[in-house]
Structure formats: C-alpha cells, structure tokens
Amino acid sequence: MADIIKPGTGLVYMKVGTHARETLADIIKRKTQEIEETGHGFWGYGGSTCHPLRMVQPFAREHQRRDGVIYLCMEPMESRHFAEPVRAEEYSADGVSWVEVPPSINVLGSRYALVIQNLREEEFELPLERTTVALGNSMGARGSRYVSGRVDKACLEVADDAPSMTAKSVRIGLVADIVEPYAVLLRNKPR
C-alpha cells in the first residue's frame, strides 16, 4: 500500500467499528458477499463531512481522472455506535432520481453509502500529518488536525510538503476501491 502514500494521491479515510449492532467482522463478511453477488457493495456511513454529492463525488471524479483508483482506507476501532438497524430501501446518485436498493445489498442505519469493490483486510500506517483536507469548509487543513473529536472521516490528499514518515500515524486495517458513482444518498421509501 506504499503507492497510496505518495503526493497527490486522493483517499477517503474513515474510522470503522461496530455499527448498527453488528461487529466489524460480521459487516466485512456481509459486504464481501454483497460484492460477490451484486458486483459492488454499499458501505454505509453518516454525518456531513463526506456528503456524497458535495464532497465524495467531485473529489473522486477528479482523482479518478488523475490517478485511477480511489481508495477507501478504514481504521478499525472500538465503537459505541449503535444506530438503529433500519434497512435503506432506495438510493440516489444525484438527489433527484431514486431507485430501489438491490435485494442483495443491505445497508443498515445509514444515510449515505460509498460504492465499493475489492474489500480486503490490509494493514499499513497512514500518517495523517502528511495529508490535507481536499475540499469543503476545511479545505487545506492538515488531516491530523481535522480528524479529531467528532470528525471521523475525510476526503484527503497526500501533501507535497509533507512532514517525514515518522509523523503520527493511524493504523489502517481495511481497504476498498471506490467505484462509480462513488457515493449515494439513502432513504426509506416515502409513505
């Protein structure tokens, strides 16, 4: 994974753990099966720091044009996140057209999802000090400063003027490729 940590590379960083009453191991198993059956999987998430339309899609499009693959780099953690395991029934890549989530995909307790392939367990150090926030209201801030407190995910670029590799790192344990349309909005069917 050394090729991820080179100047200009774009990646979506996210802390992951127990979610909606499922362990991480259970989620990985279920998502791997989804990808096998559907060709891609939905990796659910929330918050507005990586809004699908405003953040992830423009970020991913730009970096795909430039570098090819966009990586989702996930740091496993102990989580006390126990969102209600409500299954999303519809998704939208543009906020206007909504289609049914395929029966083979189950995203639980999330407002948004990244569209992923090639989910794998892979371990390496990601020095957040060597990254900057790529877009949005914190554009240009160091990743190490941005990812703190309640902020646990970010669209990051590896910086040119990065400090040394000895900078404080996070331990990535799970990686996936983000594929078109990169990120989608989720909802229940309107009643």
Partner: protein, 277 residues
C-alpha cells in the same frame, strides 16, 4: 447607526427561539448552514441597529435573521429596527416560514419573495441596504459570494450599504482568498469597505465546527441609487463550482410540500403502541 441599548437577554433569546422553532431544516447541498442561536441574538440586534429606519433587502436568509430582527423590534425588546424588510430566497420553505411567522406575529414590516439569485433581480432597486450570508465559496474563490453581493448591490441601485457574512479563519487559506476577492469585487463595483468585524459567528457545521464568519460592511461611494439593468447569470465559469467543487446550480426553486400540521412532528417519525394491546 442607532444607539445601542441594554436589552433583556432572556426575552431576546426567547424571541429568537420562537424564530428557530419556526425555521425549516437546512439543506446542506445548497450550503444552508445555520448560525448558532446565541450568535443569532447578537447578530440580529446589530443588524437592527445598523439598518434602523431604513429599507433592507435580504439576499437569501436561511438563518432567518430578518424574522429575528422584526420579532425583536415588534416585541419591544429593542426600540430600533428597519422600516421595511424583504427576504429574497429561492427556498419556498424559507419564504413560507417568513410569511407564516409574520402573519402570526403581525409583523407588518417584513415580507418574502421567491427568487433565485441567478435570475435577473426583480426589484425594487431602491433599498437603502442589503444583507447576505451566501454560500461561502471555498471551491470557487468566492464567486458564489460575488453573485449574492451583486444582487444586493442591485437592490440598492449601487447606492446603499451592505452587510456580507462570510467565512473568516486565521489558519485556512481559502477564506483569506475569498475575503480578498470579495473586497476587490466590491471596490470595482463602486463600494468601499466601511467596517470588518472578524470571526464573530459560529455555525452548526460538522465538517468544521470551529469555522467562524465575519461581518463585512460595504458602503457605496455614490450617494443616490442609479437605474439598474439586472440580467440572469449564465456564465458557466461563474457557476461551475457554485455549491462546491463540480456542483453547479441545478435547482431554480426549492418547493415546500405543504402540510396542515406545519411545525409538528411528522407522522413518519413515530407510531403508537396503544394501552391494553
């Protein structure tokens, strides 16, 4: 500007709380990010004092500062405020919230007009001053701010004053660039910077909860309004990153789904388990 008076803080906070309770929820895809309530109280008092006795146009007002100003004034919590206010907003929910609240509280000085700032300004163009808290332009070097400011200047016939609320941060580079570009634009349009009040307001902004905004107050060099020929903004370069990188505008109006039970918990949110079942 009117003389500042001592105000009943509890009454002022409760008045702003009335407005917040009435306000629609923000749509992040259009950069609707709401100011925190304590800052709304202070900002509303300032705006009322700044625009005392004048005619004030709000170019967008998701925060509902216009309603706060009118409610504080009408309720006697402050004894100064603008003579007339018009809120121009492309979100029908915002316009309806203004109309609904103004009707309920008998706020005669305030009305709302559904208007998208990419269209030609509908007038009138003889307001004394304008207020705007636009999309802050992190990804477009302030171009989105300039569009809102342009409409504000048109509302005053390029002859009034304007209060512009935009990002202000000591460390990030983009707010500095936007501040510089907006000031340059205002000066080129016949205005000068009368006052800058740095890092005043906080927001419900989860991707940068510490990011503040400033008040940038412009005044026209010209004393009297001139005739304005407003036109729609079609330049793709100005629009390409309007709501963020690669996010050009694609919605003319946000339409409100009308409900008879506005402001009440929506029945999709809950159900009842009845006693005895």
């Amino acid at each position: 500007m009117a003389e500042q008076i001592d105000i009943d803080l509890r009454a002022a906070i409760n008045a702003v709380s009335d407005v917040v309770q009435n306000r629609p929820r923000p749509l992040r895809e259009f950069d609707q990010i709401f100011m925190k309530t304590g800052d709304m109280v202070l900002q509303s008092e300032l705006v009322a004092r700044w625009s005392n006795g004048k005619r004030l146009a709000f170019i967008g007002d998701g925060d509902a500062i216009g309603l706060c100003v009118a409610h504080l004034h009408n309720g006697g919590i402050i004894n100064y405020g603008p003579a007339e206010m018009v809120v121009f907003d492309f979100d029908e929910r915002v316009c309806s919230a203004v109309t609904r609240f103004a009707d309920r509280e008998r706020l005669e000085s305030l009305r709302a007009v559904l208007y998208n700032c990419l269209d030609a300004f509908p007038g009138p163009t003889d307001f004394d001053c304008f207020y705007t808290n636009p999309p802050w332009g992190a990804s477009n070097d302030g171009e989105s701010v300039k569009v809102f400011v342009q409409r504000g200047m048109e509302a005053t016939g390029y002859g009034g004053e304007g209060m512009v609320v935009i990002a202000d941060d000591l460390e990030l580079e983009w707010p500095k660039q936007v501040l510089a570009n907006v000031q340059e634009y205002a000066i080129a349009s016949g205005f000068f910077v009368q006052k800058m009040m740095p890092r005043l307001h906080s927001y419900h902004l989860d991707d940068n909860p510490d990011l503040r905004s400033c008040n940038l107050i412009f005044k026209a060099l010209r004393r009297a309004p001139s005739s304005v020929e407003s036109s729609a903004i079609m330049d793709e370069a100005r629009l390409a990153n309007f709501y963020g990188r690669e996010n050009p505008p694609r919605v003319r109006y946000v339409r409100e789904r009308k409900r008879v039970d506005y402001g009440k918990a929506h029945e999709d949110e809950y159900s009842f388990d009845l006693l005895g079942e």
